[in-house]
Amino acid sequence: MRFGFTEDQQQFRAHVREALRSPEVRAAAAEATGADGVEPDARPLYRLLGQLGLLAVHWPVEFGGSDRPPTDAAIVAEELVRAGVPDTFHVNTIQIVGQFLLMAGSEEQKRRYLPALARGESFASVLYTEPDAGSDLGALRAVAEPEGDDYRITGTKVFSLKTRFVDLGLCAARTTPGAGKYQGISLFLVDMKAPGVTVSLIPGIGDEHFHRVDLDSVPVPGGNLIGPRDGGWPLLNEALAVERTGLDYYLKAERWFDTALGALIDDAPDSGHEDRLEQIGRWHGALTADHVLSWEVLTGLAAGRVDQLSAAVAKYHSSELAQSVAAWAVGIPTPGQRADRTGESLILDSAYREAPGLTLSAGTSEVMLQIVTAAFESVGQEEY
């Protein structure tokens, strides 16, 4: 086991950090950061990051990447958040949809879509959840009806983020209705500018709002079917496990914790803050462990291992931790700091409003516990 980073990884991190500290990136990141329920368009920032070659470093060169190891992509993700880059576009476009294409897409699909995603010129969103199919994704009703070699998708998708800004939607729909709850589901890339697509806003308490996507007989070329027809369910499950590294939640928790410490120190630079030390120590310890749990999943994935139990543990721990840190940290800024609308007070207010979504997205905490519980049947003595 090795709990530290190699020299090459450290050098790469330093290179990424330096690139992200440029005045241009800093200014664009500030412009892209929401507050008070206002969600700016972060695409200009991502175009800049795309030009710097930072969005998909682990993808093959032919698809817009730099052929670096998958763990280097995690290093980039860490540095993006630490530099104050809002990460939803990166998570949705690169880490979920792009990664899914890389995993299950055809060569033609990869060539057509991945380079623009890597350059920050095209963006993607996930269209899984429906009004009556949340955690129970097998209850989805959207239908993709064949039309020659192509399809027409009809249905309603809800609660996705950034959707009004994106070009592509990774959409789950039934290609064989009546085949069974988990059978007959396929995955498609939908052009969000296609006729029949209507995107509307569902305002939420966070600075990033939700969307409703109504698909009314939307034409989808047969070439946009990802993976085998009717074979979407196993792909979805594999993609969800790949998505659940917990790293994005860890990074939020780390940022909010550091921000809270900054607010404390700004308010009373010479104080020992004795009344808060025990809790600060606990957060520090929990964050330390959480980082390892995420990297356990990441290094497993890099070695080709998809471990559902480790992913569920990491996702549960990191999202619950981030939410708890947010609930604590929102009470740290003083009335004066809130009145002055300091950077820390705005970040922590935003964090508190974002936090309820962390234990819901990418599988609720209850679903994660269910996965852990199911593993009790198969986890051998050696796993303990």
Binding site: M1, G4, L277, I280, L293, Y316, L369, T373, F376
Partner: protein, 351 residues
């Protein structure tokens, strides 16, 4: 990072598990639940594997497996709910002292505050009452404080003013103006990131992790066949979800404990508060997971039927043996605030 388990350590774990399964457990409901100390019943298992050589550097004739191996040994002892025959000798070896010692007074924070060392000609007189882990050892390494800070001093079992109370558990040692000479100072016991105290804390964290793991495994197994309301307990979310949360806590604790050991072995400059984090987290995880495991198994857990009572008794004694977790967290928090203040100052300084 590469967090795939080292195959050698995996084999070592299997061997320990097999050996410890053959050590008879003390199933008494009252009195000591385990026999601690270097001559305890788990010692032959460790000797058969040459465990004393695990941590010793290759240059000193050992196997050079590092503290990580010592933590693993400790974890397996805790998982088996057997007495700890490893920790005292491992600490003694680091201080260049012979094996066969007991440890006393490590529960106090700040370190060494339980037993007072009053200067006298040629040394000190020890006074105070502290927890000890082995009532039969010929020598006891006692944590105390001299003008040089916290230290361990070696005291002979028959020294004047020394008394051991073993009617309670864990046993207690009393000092009443017990003389010790300057030559009996075994070594410093400061918070040096890779010093003897930090290493001992990580071994103890491993032991506590093992206690949590063993209790949890027992509860998961029991809840897998015990039926109520027409179904297995494990199929009831009210039972299974707390057990699932406990597994998450165990895995997080394992991450903190083995990260700490790896840092001591491989990146000593980066250790920082990792040993204190590991110990505090493992202590609280052991307490919480054992308590939950007792609840999951119902009244039988309070009898000798499942053996869980041993974990329950151990968790209470061992979670405080190297200090109150809350005090450890405060120390970690203070360090974190200092770091944040330094970073803040560096960020605003003109380049």
């Amino acid at each position: 990072m590469n967090l795939h388990p080292d195959p050698l350590l995996t084999e070592l774990r299997k061997a320990l598990r097999k050996g410890l399964a053959g050590v008879e457990a003390r199933m008494d409901l009252h009195g000591a639940p385990v026999t601690d100390g270097s001559s305890g019943p788990t010692r032959p298992v460790l000797d058969a594997l040459d465990a004393a050589d695990f941590e010793r550097p290759v240059s000193a004739g050992g196997l050079g497996l590092g503290l990580t191996a010592g933590v693993l040994v400790s974890e397996e002892l805790g998982r088996a709910a057997r007495g700890n025959s490893y920790r005292a000798d491992a600490l003694a070896a680091e201080l260049g002292r012979p094996a066969g010692v007991a440890l006393a007074g490590l529960e106090a924070l700040p370190t060494g505050d339980r037993v007072t060392a009053t200067p006298v000609a040629g040394g000190w007189e020890l006074t105070g009452t502290a927890t000890v882990d082995d009532v039969s050892a010929a020598h006891i390494l006692v944590a105390t404080r001299t003008g040089d800070g916290p230290v361990l001093v070696a005291v002979e079992r028959g020294a004047a003013g020394l008394g051991i109370e073993d009617a309670c558990w864990p046993p207690v040692i009393r000092f009443d103006r017990t003389p010790v000479s300057v030559g009996e100072v075994a070594g410093p016991l400061d918070d040096s990131p890779t010093g003897p105290l930090s290493r001992a804390r990580l071994r103890q964290a491993g032991y506590l992790l093992g206690i949590a793991v063993g209790a949890h495994r027992t509860a998961v197994d029991y809840a897998g066949f015990r039926r109520q309301f027409g179904t297995r307990l494990r199929d009831l979310p009210a039972v299974s979800f707390p057990l699932a949360r406990a597994l998450v806590a165990v895995r997080a604790t394992r991450a903190a404990v083995y990260r700490g050991a790896w840092l001591v072995d491989s990146e000593p400059d980066a250790v920082g508060t990792a040993p204190a984090v590991a110990l505090a987290m493992a202590a609280e995880t052991a307490r919480d997971v054992v308590r939950l495991s007792m609840q999951s198994c119902g009244v039988r857990a309070m009898t000798a039927e499942l053996g869980l009572h041993r974990y329950y008794r151990l968790a209470a004694a061992e979670s405080a043996r190297y200090g109150d977790p809350a005090a450890l967290w405060r120390a970690v928090g203070a360090d974190r605030v200092r770091t944040a203040r330094r970073n803040r100052a560096a960020a605003v300084l003109p380049v």
